[in-house]
Symmetry: C2
Subunit: 316 residues, 2 copies
């Protein structure tokens, strides 16, 4: 089992969905990803928080095996704050407020002990910061990165440089289309791979995820849930689950990557069942196993039977 | 192998997509479904055309084994005409013109020879017409029905009556949400099943399809294509592939239903690769086998390995 380096935001979020609202709950990409990954492998967390960040949230991460050496605390600063409201089907959200606060100057120096990490998730941050982190990890580190539409629009060159250096890019479908400048997702995937990463995972929200490499493709639907409450953090939990599994197995074969996407899918499903980290906190390895097996059953179908195969072969 | 009764529109379509345009090409739900189903089982087609409907289109259906006794020709009438334009990512379309013409009075009397059909697809027509057809087939006939947002809004009672009588409802995701009055698709599926059908298939366009029954669920992504040209007829080809396979096997077990969804998915992928029926016409059983097997590979993943299973079991 290897450790997982996770770099990203640690935040306080105010979220409103059709199912309720929460005010200033702990969130942020690195927090979701680390909480998710910690189910499978020990995370090394890199982030920055202000004096308003609850100590109990840091204690929770520590209790789940997270190394918090890389978390800078600025007692007289305020934590990154995000506030948003989701529409009726949770497919779109509107940002009401973003206050970068201490996150505005986030440009971490990795603790010496983190530099040998063999697995790393660079959550959505300015690509220049992602690049600076890449300069501090070993070449052999398996790096997965996320991004967002803002950087695609405003920091395209820096982002392309990052994509050329990572092993796996994690994008949602609209981001993949935007980077590749085509509405066709399959074509978009091919173009993103041409930019450098060996693997691309396209997140499609409630429609699941697709893993693409030059010679392989894998798709999985999302875990079916009748009670989706708050999608905040789902993508980061997915990423944490993926990289956590890869680190646990310390192996990136085609099948382990497929499995990692299934782990990510199962863990993300726990996040969206409740606000903030509540869903993830209730989700253990027993629940993970149940959902993994349920996903296997969800997509299972037999080969064509012999008669049908014969008819098809005869048509050749 | 059993015959498949297919009832629905036979049309001339003018379609514009970002990849080109066609004017007055042969289309219509029954034509797409029958062309697709004919790959697998002999369709019995019920529809109505005007004098402007090309004889060669009828000849093509006949050459593929379709029984056209149920197709009424009104030489001095005009065929159903639809014209529409798709947006840049083919996800939405705008109807520019709909002329019902001879289809306005469509209320078929089934040929005597059709009445023993054991498999039937009622394509999107006014629910009252679907109901009238249901009155003419045997109770034991396996019936699959489609509908559209217009009937959900304007003919809800008649539609609910139809749903209570069919075996399988085929809806796209927005229709399922609309009928069930909830944005959550899983909840929507449960509610549609409560209305009566034993099975529900939710079509999600480029995101695939989901088959739901009270005690089973199956999801499959769409077949990945870099060259989607025109989605017109995809849903009807999907339905034709499904019902054609069920009729060929004459068996509706849980696994045969899953397989039928895969057949539908593979056949629909051929339709969207070109305008009108061109893609379907080039698609034979050899291609069907290739895509079926490719879909199996696309969703394949191994169970958790023994170590991981043991860790999960220990957590219980």
């Amino acid at each position: 089992m290897a450790e997982v380096l996770i770099v990203g935001s640690m935040a306080l979020d105010s979220v409103k969905t059709p199912f309720g609202a929460v005010d200033r709950v702990v969130g942020g990409a690195a927090v979701y990803a680390a909480t998710a990954a910690s189910l499978l492998a020990p995370p090394r967390v890199v982030g920055v928080v202000g004096g308003d960040f609850p100590q109990e949230a840091l204690d929770l991460l520590a209790s789940r095996g997270c190394d918090l050496q890389g978390v800078e605390r600025i007692p007289d600063g305020k934590s990154f704050y995000w506030s948003g409201v989701y529409d009726y089907d949770l497919a779109d959200r509107e940002t009401l407020d973003t206050q970068l606060n201490v996150f505005a100057d986030f440009n971490p120096t990795l603790p010496q002990a983190y530099r040998d990490s063999r697995y790393c998730f660079l959550a959505n941050i300015q690509p220049q910061v992602q690049r600076a982190v890449l300069d501090q990890v070993n070449q052999s580190c398996f790096v997965m990165c996320d991004t967002m539409n803002l950087w695609i629009e405003t920091e395209r060159e820096a982002l392309l440089e990052v994509l050329a250096r990572v092993d796996l890019a994690l994008l949602n479908d609209s981001e993949a289309r935007q980077i590749a400048d085509t509405p066709n997702l399959q074509l978009a995937a091919d173009r993103v791979l041409e930019l450098g990463p060996r693997y691309l995972v396209i997140k499609k929200g409630e429609y699941g995820a697709t893993l693409v490499s030059r010679d392989d493709q894998f798709s999985i639907p999302s875990y079916p849930l009748p009670n989706v409450v708050d999608p905040t953090g789902a993508g980061d939990s997915f990423a944490g689950g993926m990289i956590g599994y890869l680190a646990r197995r310390d192996e990136c074969t085609a099948m382990q990557l497929r499995r990692s996407v299934v782990f990510g899918t199962a863990i993300a499903s726990a996040t969206v069942e409740d606000f903030g980290l509540e869903g993830l906190k209730r989700f253990g390895l027993a629940e993970l196993r149940e959902r993994y097996d349920a996903l296997r059953d969800l997509v299972r179908f037999d080969p064509m039977d012999a008669d049908m195969q014969a008819a098809c072969d005869a048509a050749k």
